[in-house]
């Protein structure tokens, strides 16, 4: 759609893609706010030191892998390879679920070590880890939901140019939540 129509500017980027980029800016600000609060709080009294659960290391590997399969599904739909596209978004969704499950197991692990994240005995160090990770999980869950919707659509509907754009937008979002987790993971390890 880059052909010049009289009276209109040829567009460099699809407006919906641009909206996603701006939304990513907003989400970045949200997590920047939370991790700044984390730093401020850490330098105050009674901050509990503890190791990250081992599950978070596995989940990092899983979400990186899911970014690769997401990349492959975007490439597949661009090339019109529908079967490969369907397989790849299915794998991505499964990996997304696996990530969420691992995060949950990580919380269970902390609980088993008697580190309370909420409630009267909780320490802000664990509470911050829980709240920030939980919010990230909600963002991943949003992505997984979108993947499932796309999977249903891919079974029933014909692929149009618009659906390629939507898949590209979802891809951008998916890579973003991946990078966001890597940032949080490094943040917890270096600063937390």
């Amino acid at each position: 759609m880059t052909t010049t129509v009289p009276g209109r500017v040829p567009q460099k980027i699809h407006p919906h893609k641009f909206i996603m980029w701006v939304a990513i800016g907003g989400i970045v600000m949200m997590f920047a706010g939370l991790t700044s609060a984390y730093i401020v709080k850490k330098n105050q009294s009674s901050w509990l030191q503890f190791d990250l659960p081992i599950e978070f290391f596995y989940s990092t590997a899983v979400i990186v892998l899911s970014s690769i399969t997401m990349f492959l599904s975007v490439r597949a739909i661009r090339a019109g390879k529908m079967n490969q596209y369907k397989t790849m978004i299915t794998v991505t969704a499964v990996l997304g679920f696996a990530f969420l499950l691992l995060q949950y197991l990580g919380f269970k692990d902390l609980q088993a070590k008697n580190i309370a994240m909420v409630g009267a005995r909780s320490n802000s160090a664990a509470s911050f880890l829980f709240v920030i990770t939980f919010l990230h999980m909600i963002h991943v869950l949003g992505g997984v939901t979108a993947l499932i919707v796309f999977w249903v659509k891919a079974k029933s509907k014909k692929i149009t140019e618009n659906s390629v754009v939507s898949v590209e937008i979802l891809g951008t979002y998916w890579h973003f939540v991946d990078l966001l987790w890597i940032y949080l993971f490094l943040f917890y390890n270096w600063i937390g």
Binding site: M1, V5, P6, G7, R8, V9, Q11, I13, H14, P15, H16, F18, I19, V22, A23, G25, G26, I27, M29, M30, F31, A32, G33, L34, A37, V40, K41, Q44, S45, S46, W47, M117, V118, G119, A120, R121, S122, N123, S124, S127, F128, V131, L135, T160, N162
Partner: protein
């Protein structure tokens, strides 16, 4: 990607060439007036919802001004409308704090954020940049309905048994975090926080759209430096919102965990009468203030910038002169948008902030005076030797400049951390922010409504009613808020329920009564405007020409009552900036006029 593709994203194949004037006629009532995706209808929805809130929020201020002006009198009719909140005709302390809190929340967020930028960003962005609609009309519709849901939740909080939240619009913990802290901290606060979360979602959905639309959907020839200043201002407003509202949301999320899940982000060492010592340990209420004011200060500019943009446009159109210093206007908007993020701690000078850090924030705060002064200078020089038409919109725009100067000057006082020790939390602060942010932005909003009403409804507002509305409101605004400076300088604290029992503040009893009386008159006069607005929608003088103000911008090239899609046929191409007034002896040259061969080049 063309504008058509966005408007008709659902319709599959399309070529973007067809004529749109005869589409959109088979709309049902629901899709035209309720779940509309037309940016013009969504703008009107925001405006009218905002007006409902302005009446409610204004009425709340009348109620608590009754208490402040007449602390010893009883008003039996108050008990009739407020019931147990005004036993014996006296507003109870709980009700007083609830009224102050709800007045603040509603006016700041629902009226001056949603009602102002929600209305005019939606209405003006597509019309002035030459687009058929927003980048995502569907998200735009969601934005309104999230605001509507937020409104319903906030409204319902007024009717719960323990009353609405009463800890101030800033919702500082522990009052906001502990249900046992006060009656208003119970379910009233739960509803407050749900309402605000919905509101943040609404603002973000709207803001994303505004940014994407301004950057991606301008018509041919509409470069960024040919945009009207309204669009620049609304664009920076949206950027501020998208970058600061998520931080407020993260602050609220931590607050929700403290309230409902026993965490200690903001709470430490608290003892509540009747409950005992709380287990929370290690939290910091100041942390909430940082997160809150990181939004809270940009929020001030989210409220003010749209008014600045509209005032720039209206002043230029009605002075029949180009805006003075167009690029300086954009530069100063940009500077204000950047500085807005770097000054939040000036709300926290007396929280025990490190004095060195305080002095950095003093410097950054006072720097805002520079772009503000540039803007004021440019407005005055735009008026200078202009061929001024005193339309109601123009009067309100000039009133805005007056109020912005008066309120801005006291900002220089308050920006000093040393002076702030004395002035913090006094009526001086109340006077300052009401003039510079509250009333000034209301004036910007009125200016916008009077100016663009003919485009919104194809009819004019009544001028006589408008002039009465203007003069009473501007005189009243000064009479209400000017005396508050004296009270504040004398140390009179804000948020007290009854000053007559304080030896130091008894002397202000008459002054408080005067303020309350004027507040009631000004509130009553707003009904002239409301009557004018709703009467003129149906019975106002009809607009007979496309361009009633002889303005240059694109919205006046649309039909008098534009349909969804705004222009029948092609979107016009833009050939020049929007401020060619009085150029080469020509009164005005619309943006769509190609540059003539013998035209002078400077603008």
């Amino acid at each position: 990607m063309s504008n058509e593709a966005v408007l008709h994203a659902h319709s599959g194949a399309h070529d973007g060439h067809e004529d749109h004037s005869h589409e959109h006629h088979h709309q049902s009532f629901i899709s035209k007036y309720v779940f509309s995706q037309d940016h013009k209808m969504i703008a009107k929805q925001f405006l009218i919802t905002g007006m409902v809130w302005a009446v409610l929020g204004g009425f709340m201020s009348v109620l608590f001004r009754l208490q402040l002006g007449y602390p010893d009198s009883s008003f039996p009719w108050l008990e009739t409308i407020l019931g147990k909140w005004a036993k014996g005709g006296h507003i109870t302390p709980e009700a007083y704090y609830a009224l102050v809190t709800t007045h603040g929340t509603v006016l700041v967020f629902f009226v001056l954020t949603a009602g102002l930028s929600g209305t005019f960003a939606n209405f003006l962005i597509p019309l002035q940049i030459g687009a058929r609609d927003m980048a995502s009309p569907f998200m735009n519709m969601l934005s309104y309905w999230f605001f509507f849901a937020a409104s319903i939740v906030m409204l319902s909080s007024i009717f719960v048994e323990t009353g609405p939240f009463s800890g101030g619009w800033t919702a500082y913990p522990p009052l906001s975090a502990l249900g046992d802290a006060s009656p208003g901290s119970k379910s009233g606060m739960d509803l407050w926080i749900v309402s605000m979360a919905l509101f943040v979602v609404s603002s973000l959905l709207g803001g994303l759209n505004y940014i994407a639309t301004v950057l991606n959907m301008r018509t041919k020839g509409m470069s960024m430096t040919r945009l009207p200043l309204t669009i620049w201002a609304l664009f920076f407003t949206a950027v501020l919102g998208v970058l600061s509202f998520p931080v407020l949301l993260s602050g609220f999320i931590l607050l929700i965990f403290d309230r409902n899940f026993g965490t200690s982000f903001y709470l430490s060492d608290i003892f509540i009468n009747g409950v005992g010592a709380l287990p929370n340990e290690g939290g910091s209420a100041i942390l909430f203030q940082h997160l809150f004011w990181f939004l809270g200060h940009p929020e001030v500019y989210i409220i003010l910038l749209p008014a600045m943009g509209m005032v720039s446009e209206i002043l230029s159109v009605n002075s029949r002169k180009p805006i003075f210093g167009y690029m300086a206007m954009i530069g100063s908007l940009f500077a204000i948008a950047i500085l807005a993020f770097l000054v939040w701690a000036h709300h926290m000078f007396v929280t025990g902030l490190n004095p060195l850090l305080g002095s950095v924030f003093v410097l950054l705060t006072l720097l805002i005076a520079v772009p503000s002064a540039i803007k004021v200078f440019n407005w005055l020089t735009t008026l200078w030797r202009g061929n001024i038409r005193f339309t109601p919109g123009m009067l309100f725009a000039i009133g805005f400049v007056s109020l912005f100067i008066s309120g801005g000057l006291t900002g220089i006082w308050l920006g000093n951390s040393a002076l702030d020790i004395h002035l913090h939390d006094t009526y001086f602060v109340v006077a300052h922010f009401h003039i510079v942010m509250g009333v000034a932005s209301m004036f910007g909003m009125f200016a916008g409504i009077y100016h663009w009403f003919p485009k919104m409804y194809g009819r004019f507002l009544n001028n006589t009613l408008a002039y009465v509305h203007f003069w009473v409101t501007i005189a009243g605004a000064y009479m209400i808020f000017w005396p508050m400076h004296y009270e504040g300088l004398a140390g009179m604290p804000r948020r007290y329920y009854d000053y007559s029992i304080w030896e130091s503040f008894k002397q202000f009893q008459d002054l408080n009564q005067f303020i309350s009386l004027v507040a009631m008159i000004v509130f009553a006069v707003q009904f002239l405007f409301l009557f004018n607005f709703f009467y003129s929608i149906f019975r106002g003088r009809k607009v007979t020409t496309q361009n009633p103000w002889d303005a240059n911008t694109l919205e006046w090239t649309t039909p008098i009552n534009p349909g969804h899609g705004n222009w029948p046929g092609e979107i016009p191409e833009v050939h020049r900036w929007p401020y060619d007034y009085g150029k080469d002896g020509v009164d005005f040259i619309p943006q769509t006029t190609p540059v003539g061969a013998d035209e002078s080049v400077e603008h």
